[in-house]
Every structure is written in structure tokens, then in C-alpha cells.
Amino acid sequence: METITNAHLFGIFLTVGCFYLISLVRRKSGFNWLNPLLLSTVIIICILVLGEIPYEHYMKGGGVIHALLGPVTVVLALPLYRHRRLLVEHKYSIIGGIVSGVVSAIVSVIVLSRLLGMNEFLERSLIGHSVTTPIGIGLSDMLQANEGITIISIMITGLLGASIAPFMLKLLRVTHPVAKGLSIGTSSHALGTTKAIEMGETEGAMSGLAIGVAALTTVLIVILLQFMGWY
């Protein structure tokens, strides 16, 4: 067994297999609420735990797929380019919306953490929960926080954002595709963007735009906070 699991092929096969089979079930059954990413994650974790397969074995192949997150982020420029007119038309609304979202992210983490009596170390680890993983890790380092906690918080945020966004936006009566996309990208980065892309091309493009702008804004605000001696 060890010879099979401790090879690049194992992680790649397991990931491709799970994602394909769940997507297939989703298409055939019409259950659009099935989230292939969330379900694949749960199934792979179960297989690793029940099969007593070390995480390092899975990540031999998993790391290959993980490395492709770089190019996947790069090509998010394409939907932006396709919607460049919309971008210019709504530039002030876009900047205003993203900046208010980023400020609310940082303020809400600080206020909630203090209300719940969490230590400052945890609070610092959660500051970047809404930004894209690579920047979140960078922020965590800047704040001398725990990278692992930051990654978990980013994953929970992304999965949550992707699942509640359609419902929340309906509840708040937000109908403009620009507002929908921006709010998803600002709150739940690239993971939420997978849902925004399903909602429509404009939503997807705006969500993709928000990932980059929100992440940059968060970094700038944290630098400012550090400069002011807050952290």
C-alpha cells in the first residue's frame, strides 16, 4: 500500500477522481448546491484518515496541483479585460465598495476577537481571513501570527462565502451584478469567486477583480496599522 500512496500519482489521481466523480453526480442529478471543492476535500480527508495515509504522501501529488494556483490566479486578468468598460464606468463605486468591505473585515475581526476574549496572537492570525491565500500567508508573517490558523480561517471564509453568498445577496436585495461580484470577491477571495463565476460572467469578473484589490488594500491598511504602532 505504502508504495502506491507514497508516489506523485496517488495524490493527483485521488484529487482528479474525486473532483470528476462529484462534478458528474452534480450534473446528472441536477443538485446544483453540491460543492465539488468542499465534498472532494471532505472525501479526501476521510480517505487519508481512515486509510491511515500520511498527509505528506497525499501532498506529493497534491503539491503539483497546488503549484498551479499561481497560473490560475494570473488568468483571472482575462475576465477583467473582457469587462474593462464596466470597470471604467463604475470605478468609484468599485473602489468605494471594496475599501468599505476591507475596513469592515479588519474592524470586525478586532472587535469580535476582543469581545470573545481571544488572545492577540489569534486575533492577528485572523486579520487576513478574507484575502487570497498567498497574501493571507504574507500578512500572517508580517504580523508574526500563526500561518496554519490563517490558512484555516481563509478556507472557512471561502467555503462559507461560496455557500451563503446567493442566499445573503437575495436577503439583502442586492441585484446589481457588479455589487454581487465585488462583495463575493472581497469577502471570500478566489474560493468565493468560483461561485460568482457560476452566477454570471460579470459577477465572476468583478469577484476576480475584488480578490486583487481587496488583498492590496488589506496589506496597505495593515502596514498603516503597524506604522501607527497598533500591532
Binding site: M59, G96, G97, G101, L182
Partner: protein, 119 residues
């Protein structure tokens, strides 16, 4: 051939972004620098949409797949939260709901204000 050409361009831009971020000491990761770089290349017409279209669309439409190993990584890092599971989950969930609502409502408000202004 086409897929290789497109991959070559996309990976090249990612690599260029990594180099720029590292050597200019930018506070943003190379993939984001690469995204900005690709946008600039498309806007200036140096690259055409057809140079990356099929590969880029495949990656965007199946983005969830590329996140699976990162989310499986929770399996090894959850211990750091010992004793604070409930509080952490509560902060993250509430904060996400707040950010989503604030961004959506403020953007919609600004767009509506602008459209009223125009009339």
C-alpha cells in the same frame, strides 16, 4: 500545440510576476503581480485574448479543483486552534457575513447614487 503555446505564455507571465515581486520587494505575491502584468499586456494589445483563451477559460471554469490540496491542508494545521475552536469559527463566520453585506450594500448604494446623479 495551441494548449502548449497558451500554457507557455501563462506560466511565463506567472514567472515574470514572481521575479518582479521578489526583486522589487513588493508586498504582494507573484501571482497577483502576474495578474496585473497580464491585464496590462492585454490592455496594451501586446497579447491578444486568443493567445490564452482556451487554457485560461478552462482554469477559470474549474478553479475549485486547484484549491483541493490547500483545503485538505486543514488536516494538519487545525491543532493550532486547540481550545479556541468555537471562538475562532464564530469570529470568522460573523466577520465574513459582515464583509459580504457591507461590500454588497455599499457598492449597490454607490451605483444607485451615481445613476440618480446622471438623470
Amino acid at each position: 500545440m495551441k494548449v502548449f503555446k497558451q500554457l507557455f505564455i501563462i506560466l511565463g507571465i506567472n514567472l515574470a510576476g514572481d521575479l518582479l515581486s521578489r526583486y522589487l520587494h513588493l508586498p504582494i505575491p507573484g501571482s497577483i503581480t502576474g495578474m496585473i502584468l497580464l491585464l496590462v499586456l492585454l490592455l496594451t494589445g501586446v497579447l491578444k485574448e486568443k493567445h490564452i483563451r482556451e487554457t485560461a477559460d478552462f482554469m477559470i471554469q474549474n478553479m475549485g479543483f486547484f484549491f483541493i490540496p490547500a483545503t485538505v491542508g486543514v488536516l494538519v494545521s487545525y491543532h493550532a486552534l486547540d481550545g479556541y475552536y468555537f471562538q475562532t469559527a464564530l469570529v470568522v463566520v460573523l466577520s465574513t457575513v459582515i464583509v459580504l453585506s457591507v461590500t454588497a450594500l455599499s457598492t449597490q448604494l454607490l451605483i444607485n447614487l451615481k445613476e440618480k446623479w446622471k438623470r
